[in-house]
Every structure is written in C-alpha cells, then in structure tokens.
C-alpha cells in the first residue's frame, strides 16, 4: 500500500518523490469541459429529445408523401422544391430555436449554480484557475452548442431523407426526383454559417452579458439580466419618446444580417450567396466581440471574489 510506503520513507526522500507539480493546460481545460457535460446533461439531451419528437411527427406525416409527390409532378420545379424542402426547413428552425433557448438558459445558470449549491468551495479547492473554469463554460455557448446543434440538425435531416426515400421507393416513385431537391450537406454548411454568424458571433455580447450576471447575482440572475435593460428602454421611451436603446438591443438578436449574405438573397435558401468577408469586415461585430471579452474578463474576476450565494 502507498500509505505504508509513505510512512516508511523519510522526509527528504519523500519530497524528492513528489509528483510533478503541473498538469498541462489543455488537460485541465478538457476536464473542466467534461464537468460541464456531466453537470448540464440537458444541453445535449434537450436538442436530442426535440429532434426525436420531430422525427416521430415526420414519420406520421410522410404517409401522404407519395400522394403529394404525384400531385407535384405537374408543377414547376421551384414549387416542387419548396414543398419537398419545407419539413427540412422546419426541422432546422426548430433545432435552432432550441439551441437559442438552451444557450441562454445555460449562460444564466453557468456561474450561479455552483455558488447556489456551495459546490464552488469544492471546485476552488482544486488547482484549476478561474480563467480556465470561465473559459470552459464560455466555450459551451460559443463553440460546443452551435456545433452540437448543427450536427443534430444534420443527422435529423439525414434520417428524414432515409425515411422519405423508403416511402417514395416503396410506392414505386423515382427516388432520384426526390433526392435531386434535397442537398443535405450544403444545407448543413449554410446552417452552420448562419448559426456561427448570427447566433454566435453577432449575438456574443448577449451570452457574455448573461454569464456576467450569472457570476454577479446572488439570486434571480435571470431577472437581473433582463429587467435593467428593459427598464432603460422604458425610461427612454417615457422621457425622450425615442427607442434607440431598444433598437440597439434588438440589433443583437435579429440584426447583423447586413454583410453575411449578398443583398436580396434569403439566409437559408439554397441559392444564397455567402459573403463572409463582408461580415467579418463589419465594425459592429468587432465592437461586440470586444465587449463580450470584457464581460467574460469581469466574470473571471467575480468568480474569484464571490463566495457561495
């Protein structure tokens, strides 16, 4: 037993035998991230459940698919495509909505929960820095969730394609006609681009703000995150009869579209022309990212200062 060996060795010999003192930063980051997956299993279980539910509904709906395909045959190709693609767009939208909800909920809980259940005293008893912990948590909304959501959307659409193909083939229709309309991989890349630009990079200050409030508030973090901006908007409306602040906030949720796509094309349309260069050249994007970085730096600071809530 180690215990016996330890007591047998004398002091100087033992101090020579002390294990190496440093764990590589990447390994610490890996375990900090593992912790998030253990603690918040719902960040991947919820989108999976939504996808499963959608697939169940889709399975029932494709009973009518052969009938629809026959009706479509006479129509023009654009109309055909829109009808066939409709459920695919629905699946993507549903999973994106889920992604946004989960991300916001995760951010507002991220740094408060460990203080609420006092487990922060356990986490802080280990040699993991506040920077590592906060960055591991921030990587969930900024990297992990967008990728996981897009991957789940892709797999869902792939299963939809397989199910539809089986039904179409089973009714003696041409599978090729159906497949020609669906381009899964291009759809996946478009979705990823859409999520990373609009919902991650452009919305970054929202997630940064939520994490900052999560690190600061003792309780009711959600109210602290939402009420002050709301109050400012209302006061501005009352006092100056203007809505600049509300418009400014709305910008982070819906805005930023300028620059991502060539003018006149729809975001998720297969013919969309992407212009990432113009998007990355937007000044507002970089200001937003700088503000996000400042929010996260403050959150690191607060994690050091705040004890159990």
């Amino acid at each position: 037993m180690n215990t016996q060996i330890n007591t047998m060795l004398d002091a100087p010999l033992r101090s020579q035998l002390r294990a190496p003192t440093v764990i590589p930063a990447a390994q610490q980051a890996y375990w900090a991230l593992r912790r998030e997956f253990w603690e918040s299993r719902w960040i991947y279980l919820a989108p999976l459940a939504v996808a499963a539910l959608f697939l169940f509904g889709f399975l029932i709906s494709i009973i009518h698919l052969p009938h629809e395909m026959r009706a479509l045959a006479g129509l023009d190709p654009a109309k055909q495509r829109d009808t066939i693609l409709q459920p695919y767009d629905m699946a993507a939208s549903l999973l994106m909505g889920t992604f946004i909800l989960i991300t916001m909920f995760y951010c507002i809980e991220a740094l408060q929960r460990e203080r609420r259940d006092r487990s922060i005293l356990f986490w802080k008893s280990l040699p993991v820095s506040d920077v590592t912990t906060v960055l591991a948590k921030a990587s969930i909304p900024f990297l992990v969730l967008p990728l996981v959501s897009c991957a789940i959307a892709f797999v869902t659409e792939f299963i939809m394609l397989l199910l539809s193909s089986a039904v179409v083939a089973g009714s003696g229709l041409s599978v090729a006609t159906y497949w020609n309309q669906v381009s899964l991989f291009r759809g996946f890349l478009l979705l990823l681009y859409h999520v990373m630009t609009v919902h991650v990079l452009w919305s970054a200050p929202i997630y940064g703000w939520l994490m900052l409030v999560s690190a600061w508030a003792r309780r009711a973090a959600f109210l602290w995150a939402v009420l002050p901006p709301l109050a400012i908007s209302v006061l501005e409306r009352l006092l100056f009869h203007t809505g600049h602040f509300a418009a400014f906030l709305g910008h982070f949720f819906t805005g930023g579209a300028e620059g991502r796509y060539a003018p006149g094309t729809l975001p998720m349309h297969p013919g969309t022309h992407l212009t990432p260069g113009r998007f990355l050249g937007t000044l507002g994007l970089w200001i937003g990212l700088a503000v996000t970085a400042a929010f996260l730096a403050l959150a690191v600071r607060l994690r050091r200062d705040r004890g159990p809530a």
Binding site: N2, T7, A19, W31, R118, S119, F122, K124, V128
Partner: protein, 291 residues
Amino acid sequence: MACIEARGLRKAYGATVALDGVDLRVEEGRILGLIGPNGAGKTTALNAILGLTPYQGELRVLGRDPWNERDRLMRDVSFIADVAVLPRWIRVSQALDYVGGVHPRFDRAKAEGFLGKTSIRWESKVRELSKGMVTQLHLALVMAIDARLLVLDEPTLGLDILFRKQFYDSLLNDYYDGNRTIVVATHQVDEIEHVLTDLVFIDRGRIVFNRSMEEVESRYLEVLVDPDKLAAARALKPIHERQGFGRSILLYEAADRQQVAALGEVHAPSISDLFVAVVGNQTGHTGGVSR
C-alpha cells in the same frame, strides 16, 4: 519556512470586523486547532488562508499570496470546507476522474483503497449518499492528495460520534506523516484534543491564546480543591473557578505543581475548560464553547 505566516491580518464586512489584526505563524508539520465561538472569525481566517476571500495585511501560505495565486497554491493545499460542498449531481467515479484529471498530486489508487473500506458505490451520485458517506468520499479524495497543508473547517459537523472518531483516527493514521501541516477549526473541541500539537483560541477577530500542546500541558493545571482548602487555593490566584461534583474546580496558569497538589486532586484541564477560562476572562463571555 513557515507554512502559514500572517501579520496584521484584517477583514471587515461593512461595519462588522471579522479579523482584527491577526498575527499567526504555523510551522510545517504541526497540527493546529483553531477554536473560537461562533462569529469569532475562524472561517474568515481560514478563507483568507485558502485564497477564498480578500484581506488587508500580510499573508503568505507556503510562500505564496493566496488571494492572487489560489490555483497554484491548491497544488499543495487541500481543504474540506464543510460536509455539504461536494456537488450533489456528481457520481463517485466522476469525482475521482475529475480530481485525477486536474490535480497533479492525486493518487487514484489510494483514494480507491479508502473508498473500498466504505460501503460507497462507484456509480452512486452524491445526492444518493448519506451525510456520513459524503464526508467519507470527500475525505478519501483529500487524503489521496499529497498536499503539504490540509485545512478542515468543521469537517465533522452533523456527523454521529462513531463517525467523528473514525474521521480523526484515519486522519492521524493514514494521512498525517509528520511533514504535512493540518489546521482544524471546530466546535467539537474535546474530540480533537489528543490530535493537536498546537492550540489557538480566536475571539472577536483576535488571537487570544496561542501555545503548543506541550506548553498547555505543562503550564495549566486544574485542581479539584478540598473544601477546607478553598481559601488557600484562591490565594494562589487561579485564572478561573467553577463548580463541579459539588466542589470547586480551580484552574491555574504557571502554578507550582507541588504547591497546588497539596490543595486537592490535580489533573490537566480539558481544552474546553481552558477555553472557557481564557476566552471568558478576556471578554466577559460567560461561556462559548458548544459541544
């Protein structure tokens, strides 16, 4: 090098002064008991040592500044804050994986050895374990870390007496090796009496007593005074007097052993009696040690 060195440590929460100029030096290899009434500043002092709270004054722990180097300090320091800090959602196996993943001095085989002696199952979540089992788990994790300083703040709070005894036994037999330093803050004073090498009383943010146990044993005597010798006993200036077994029990500091032995039955005072005598005299408390 001293393990802990504090000079003029101060901490106030608004108008409440939690630490009012604490000077403390703890050498390596000591087992120090930090005893004080509720709100005396014990937890604040320990939190400052662990880098969990900012402070004024000078403080070095193993040569480091705890507030600015908490993560590096924790490579050499372990602590158990109190029984309820392990996250309730974590599985036993996950806790072992995580600590093993982030701590350079964690010996997993050792932790598994400790857990093997308990009835804790690997796949259990902390929320499914009893209070005693959670402490066993936390202790197994901490004892498997080759730390130089272990800080325990009320480690046995809410546990039954068998468990508390077992806790300190394994701490002494399986963990303490003469090189590590252990700091224990607790209300259950008499249980840790035989464990300690040093004794510190803290009251209202100040250190009011700081001696090694050898000093305590040689310096303080308690006498169960024969009724007819009470006047003579009082003349020797006891630091405290109380009633027990229908007789007066007088506590002396630096008294002549031969001289007091003539007054009645002499024995070493318990830490709690000493605490009542010292802290009670200093501040006019009527008591303060809860058991």
